[in-house]
């Protein structure tokens, strides 16, 4: 068994809401292996989004630690976290979170801008990944000129452009219709597999769990089930294969 890339040890997060304390995460222990596609599911309020934020270092735990690649990121300063994210983490949001005033190409280049990569190099990388998500014809478009599915594909390209080891996705298909959801999901899975990356996906949609190697279910801030997805191998290939074509030559790109 390989060394886990993400280790969560006794993680606890308590929010203070007025006078009350809300326990978002009680005591989470979780190991995620490199190359794994891990889906965290749970009802609203189960703490799944909080867990993802903890894993990505967007907020500090009340107790416990998140160790990524052997480094306890819970202890990092904000700047160190920022630099850590630059190199190791890609993020996909439910509401895409593209900057509205710049083109798709520039949006995708953004993580590389923060890393100080030269314009020539980062545009080359951004073009390459935009091609891979099937948006070669939309590079100069601004987010407002694109459909939701296209915007999310820009979001995916942005998450992958710096070749991070881990991709976090928070309800990536939450704003998309079912057809586009399938496109986007299969594209994400394909990219993760191709680049041998780890994907941690948060969703309340049990349908998406079909794509995962492993399904972790949260309830009231605790892991209530953690199991391998048996049907994965077949369904993934079955579902992902035809969608690839759509992504590359689908109607949206023309």
């Amino acid at each position: 068994m390989p060394e886990p890339i993400i280790k969560v040890k006794d993680l606890r997060k308590v929010y203070r809401v007025g006078m009350e304390q809300v326990v978002a995460l009680d005591k989470i222990n979780l190991d995620i292996l490199p190359g794994e596609v891990c889906c965290i599911v749970g009802t609203s309020g189960s703490g799944k989004s909080t867990l993802l934020n903890q894993l990505a270092g967007l907020e500090k735990p009340t107790k416990g630690a998140v160790v990524i690649g052997g480094r306890n990121i819970s202890r990092f300063s904000e700047n160190k976290l920022a630099k850590f994210r630059q190199k190791n983490i890609g993020f996909i949001f439910q509401s895409y979170n593209l900057l509205p005033n710049i083109t798709a190409l520039e949006n995708v280049s953004l993580p590389l801008v923060f890393r100080g990569v030269s314009k020539k190099k980062r545009e080359k990388a951004a073009k390459k990944i935009l091609n891979e998500v099937g948006l070669s014809g939309r590079m100069a478009h601004k987010p407002s000129q694109m459909s939701g599915g296209q915007q999310q594909r820009v979001g995916i390209a942005r998450a992958f452009v710096a070749s991070p080891k881990i991709i976090f996705a928070d309800e990536p298909t939450g704003n998309l219709d079912s057809k586009t959801t399938i496109e986007v999901m299969s594209m994400m899975i394909r990219l993760v597999r191709e680049h041998n990356q780890t994907l941690v996906l948060v969703t309340h949609d049990p349908e998406l769990a079909k794509y995962a190697d492993r399904i972790v279910t949260l309830f009231d801030g605790n892991v209530v089930s953690d199991k391998e997805n048996e049907s994965i191998a077949d369904s993934k290939i079955k579902e992902a294969q035809p969608q690839e074509d759509t992504a590359k030559g689908g109607p949206e790109t023309e």
């Binding site: 967007l58 630099k83 979170n97 100080g116």
Partner: protein, 451 residues
């Protein structure tokens, strides 16, 4: 992030919000223009005064006048002059003594003493003081230092033109002013190359017991005429001791006696200081002795003082304007932070370090200041040009008669340009400080949740 990326990102953000950015820049333009114009006007004023003073003459000469001749007054006599000479920083001090006759006196010269000059202005001064007082010799030399057999004088540069031909009734003088063609006439003669005779006529022509006094005089030098000092034009300088002898002999001949209780006191003494900074101290000491003083330097210092006061007041007005524009920059930037909260959050999540976020907002604010500064300086040049074109002639009335329409009213030297730019940019940066900190403190998580 690379600096070039930072800059281009900031520029794009500013351009994106064209209207708000330009309004804020207008504020800075007004502020910068106010401060630059205020200072430039004060500089212009100072320049005008300096130019004026140059025309007035040597700044380091102090004029001293007498403490009166009454019994209770300190007389401005030889002893007082000697005391003044001993004050630290005094180069020379000399009385300026005129000839007091009450009757006609004249200098005659040329062949057969055919030309005469009535009532020339005599100045009896200490010969050593001539050169330090700034008089320059055009021909010949200064007054002799020791005693001489004949009376030796130095005359002003245009003295030769003051002689009148007594054999002619018309056209009997030569002019030292250029005619229509710019030609200047030659005088009748060169005073240094002719015999001169000074006659002090008796007070009462009817009285046969008194004689006219006649002296043979030699002009040993001619001064360079300096039109700002009229004594160099047609004055006649005599050694102080000779002046006193002439006066005594005249008084004796005409039976003029000074009243016993009246002390001897010079009307005027001129003092030259070794340098400008010691002028005020010398003046103070002389005033403490009981005499009045006047110097260009103290005049200049007074003017400088009032200019400085003006500078502070006008600079203050400009400063307030710039302060107001700083507040508007802060306001704009805070709004910008609000508007871009989500964007900032996304940037943070994507790995933008805190320093870069801060830099973005500081640079944006700094750029607003800088652009405002550039436009403000340009606008100031324009205003300055108009003021100088229109207002040049009005200063005479506006700023008091002393400032004729000389030089420019408003002057913007390079240092003022740089100061204006630096100030505007600095104000921008300072104004951006608080908004930048706010941006830095935004929680990435909260920001990206925001709709």
């Amino acid at each position: 992030m690379k600096t070039s990326d930072l800059l281009s990102m900031c520029l794009r953000n500013l351009i994106r919000r064209k209207f708000l950015t330009s309004l804020t820049i207008v504020g800075v333009v007004i502020g910068t223009t106010a401060i630059v114009m205020m200072i430039s006007l004060v500089i212009g004023m100072g320049n005008q005064i300096d130019e004026q003073l140059k025309m007035w003459g040597d700044l380091s000469i102090i004029e001293v006048w007498g403490g009166g001749t009454g019994s209770n007054d300190t007389p401005l006599d030889d002893k007082a002059v000697a005391d003044i000479r001993n004050i630290q920083g005094v180069l020379v001090a000399t009385p300026f003594v005129g000839l007091q006759t009450g009757s006609e006196y004249l200098i005659e010269g040329g062949r057969n003493f055919r030309y005469e000059w009535k009532h020339p202005n005599f100045f009896g001064i200490v010969p050593e003081a001539m050169e330090p007082l700034g008089y320059r010799i055009a021909e010949g030399e200064f007054l002799p230092l020791g005693k001489t057999r004949t009376l030796q004088v130095v005359v002003g540069g245009s003295a030769a033109y003051r002689f009148m031909d007594t054999r002619r009734r018309f056209d009997n003088m030569r002019s030292d002013w250029p005619d229509e063609d710019g030609n200047i006439q030659e005088p009748f003669f060169n005073p240094m190359k002719t015999d001169l005779k000074l006659t002090l006529k008796s007070l009462d022509a009817e009285d046969t017991t008194t004689r006219n006094l006649e002296y043979e005089i030699i002009a040993v030098g001619i001064l360079e005429a300096d039109r700002t000092k009229w004594e160099t034009v047609d004055g006649v300088f005599i050694p102080l001791d000779e002046m006193k002898r002439l006066q005594d002999e005249f008084n004796k001949e005409n039976n003029i006696r000074t009243p016993r209780n009246q002390k001897e006191s010079y009307n005027q003494v001129k003092v030259k200081s070794t340098d400008l900074p010691s002028v005020p101290d010398i003046e103070k000491e002389i005033q403490a002795m009981g005499f009045g003083t006047w110097s260009m330097e103290s005049q200049r210092q007074q003017m400088q003082q009032s200019i400085m006061t003006m500078q502070i007041i006008l600079g203050g007005i400009g400063g307030i304007t710039l302060f107001v524009s700083a507040i508007s920059i802060t306001n704009t930037m805070i709004m910008s932070v609000y508007e871009r909260t989500r964007e900032i959050g996304v940037m943070k999540v994507l790995g933008c370090i805190v320093g870069n976020i801060r830099a973005i907002f500081l640079i944006e604010a700094g750029l607003i200041g800088f652009f405002g500064g550039v436009l403000g300086v340009l606008f100031s040049f324009l205003l300055s040009f108009f003021i100088n074109a229109v207002g040049g002639g009005m200063t005479g009335g506006g700023m008091g008669g002393m400032l004729g329409g000389i030089g420019s009213v408003s002057s913007i030297p390079l240092w003022l340009v740089l100061l204006g730019l630096a100030f505007a940019t600095g104000i921008g940066l300072a104004a951006g400080f608080y908004p930048a900190n706010r941006a830095v403190k935004i929680s990435a998580l909260e920001a990206i949740k925001q709709e």
